[in-house]
């Protein structure tokens, strides 16, 4: 069987909830044993354990629960509450950014999403949000820089 067909068969099973182990929207959790550098992908949002907040980040004046800029359903990666976390923002944070907020988790917090599974972060962790790179956008960015 061709690779693409194999993959199509795989996603067909997953989307019909017929796959034995892969279930859409399965929640995951960083365990207390996680180490700096450990990463969970929630769609194209990477949540990575860090040792500290980067020095050029600032505590958000008006923090938002949403961790990805945008109005689409895909960008609704949202904290369950603002009460349990301090949010630090990079100097620039917009739809083109590859780096997002850094979360200092004071009490267990969950990142929710309408399609992907929820990701729970235990108390005491520092978690950096970064975004998946896009080759076509990177090329466009390079082309703009050249122009």
């Amino acid at each position: 069987m061709e690779v693409i067909e194999k993959m199509q068969q795989f996603v067909s099973k997953v989307s019909k909830n017929e796959h034995e182990t892969v279930k859409p929207g399965q929640p995951v959790r960083f365990t207390e044993a996680c180490m700096p550098g450990d990463r969970i992908w929630q769609g194209d949002l990477a949540l990575t354990i860090r040792t500290s907040v980067p020095s050029n980040y600032n505590l958000a004046d008006k923090p938002s629960v949403q961790l990805v800029v945008g109005n689409t359903e895909g960008s609704k990666h949202c904290l369950d509450s603002l009460n349990n976390v301090d949010i630090y923002l990079p100097p620039v944070w917009n739809a083109e950014s590859l780096k997002g907020p850094v979360l200092v988790v004071k009490q267990e917090t969950t990142v929710l999403h309408p399609t992907h599974g929820d990701v729970t972060i235990p108390e005491g962790f520092i978690v950096e949000c970064t975004y998946q790179k896009e080759w076509d956008k990177e090329q466009a960015r390079e082309a703009r820089a050249r122009d």
């Binding site: 693409i4 199509q8 550098g37 969970i40 992908w41 990575t48 998946q132």
Partner: protein, 293 residues
């Protein structure tokens, strides 16, 4: 003058909103006002305004009328070239709002009096769609009757035309890129040959996204470089080398979808492609992906 005053800065949103409203307005042409302000435009340009005025529904209708007024028959050899010449001769009326807002601001708020010469164009933009000023006549158009934009204010409609005129003329666009009806409404009917033949990179990219990357790599006989079952991320991944679009990582998502992601030419394996896609941090901590959901 080096800087805007606070008062001037605070007025920018007013001009911005006003001219966006003008640019998006779907109203009919006010023929009398159009004539009145066309005379001012001619006067400000130092030209004599003709007495003959026409009103049409769309840029294509305007161009057809202009060609007809030149006495060129529809079946003649020169028709096509004349039609496109007349289409390109048009002035954008309400669609000039993007730059008129700037000049109205620097005229009225910053006292740059030279901009007063644009008053006629500013006024006519409020009442007319595109229009065509000639020595012997003026052809006005109604504004578009429908317009669709994305959140970045670019022409955009994935399920129909982005712009519609009163005579049924349609403009097809996604993300501000002008397309054909086939690409928007029936992308599944595109062929590999059509996609590969398209010279405009932006159009080709939209074509292939709508056609489906998975189908493209399959039907275009792209070369499979690597395949793996990633049990940590619960994904299946295949790295292809496509003739036209370079390296593409086809990857399943635990939500039950397939994504196709571009990768640099240097990557040779799925693992390298995934590492590149996630590599945007400054930290020295070695990244260790433990799950994907």
């Amino acid at each position: 003058m080096k800087d805007l005053t606070q008062e001037q800065i605070e007025k920018i949103p007013h001009y911005h909103e006003k001219w966006i409203k003008i640019g998006l307005d779907c109203g009919e042409c006010d023929f009398e006002k159009a004539k009145e302000f066309a005379r001012i435009v001619y006067e400000q340009a130092g030209e004599k305004c003709p007495d003959q005025f026409y009103l049409t529904d769309s840029p294509t209708a305007c161009a057809k009328l202009a060609v007809k007024l030149r006495g060129i028959e529809e079946n003649s050899e020169e028709y096509s070239s004349a039609f496109f010449t007349e289409l390109n001769n048009q002035v954008f009326g309400s669609h000039e709002s993007g730059w008129l807002t700037y000049y109205e601001f620097i005229w009225k708020e910053m006292g740059v009096v030279e901009c007063e010469k644009l008053q006629g164009l500013m006024e006519i933009a409020k009442h007319v769609g595109w229009w065509a000023p000639y020595d012997t006549c003026v052809i006005f158009q109604h504004k578009h009757s429908e317009i669709h934009l994305d959140d970045q204010m670019r022409l955009h409609n994935e399920t129909g035309p982005a712009v519609v005129y009163r005579d049924g003329t349609k403009v097809w666009a996604i993300g501000g890129i002008g397309l054909t009806e086939q690409i928007v409404m029936a992308p599944e009917t595109l062929t590999i040959e059509q996609i590969n033949r398209e010279n405009n990179n932006e159009i080709r990219s939209v074509m292939i996204n709508r056609f489906g990357w998975a189908r493209y790599v399959k039907e275009s006989n792209s070369t499979l470089l690597d395949f793996r079952q990633n049990d940590i991320e619960n994904t299946m991944e295949a790295l292809y080398d496509t003739e036209i679009f370079g390296k593409r990582l086809v990857v399943t998502c635990p939500t039950g979808r397939i994504f196709v992601l571009g990768a640099p030419d240097s990557v040779q394996t799925c693992e390298q492609a995934q590492a590149w896609l996630g590599s945007n941090e400054d930290s020295e901590d070695k990244v260790n992906v433990i799950a994907r959901t």
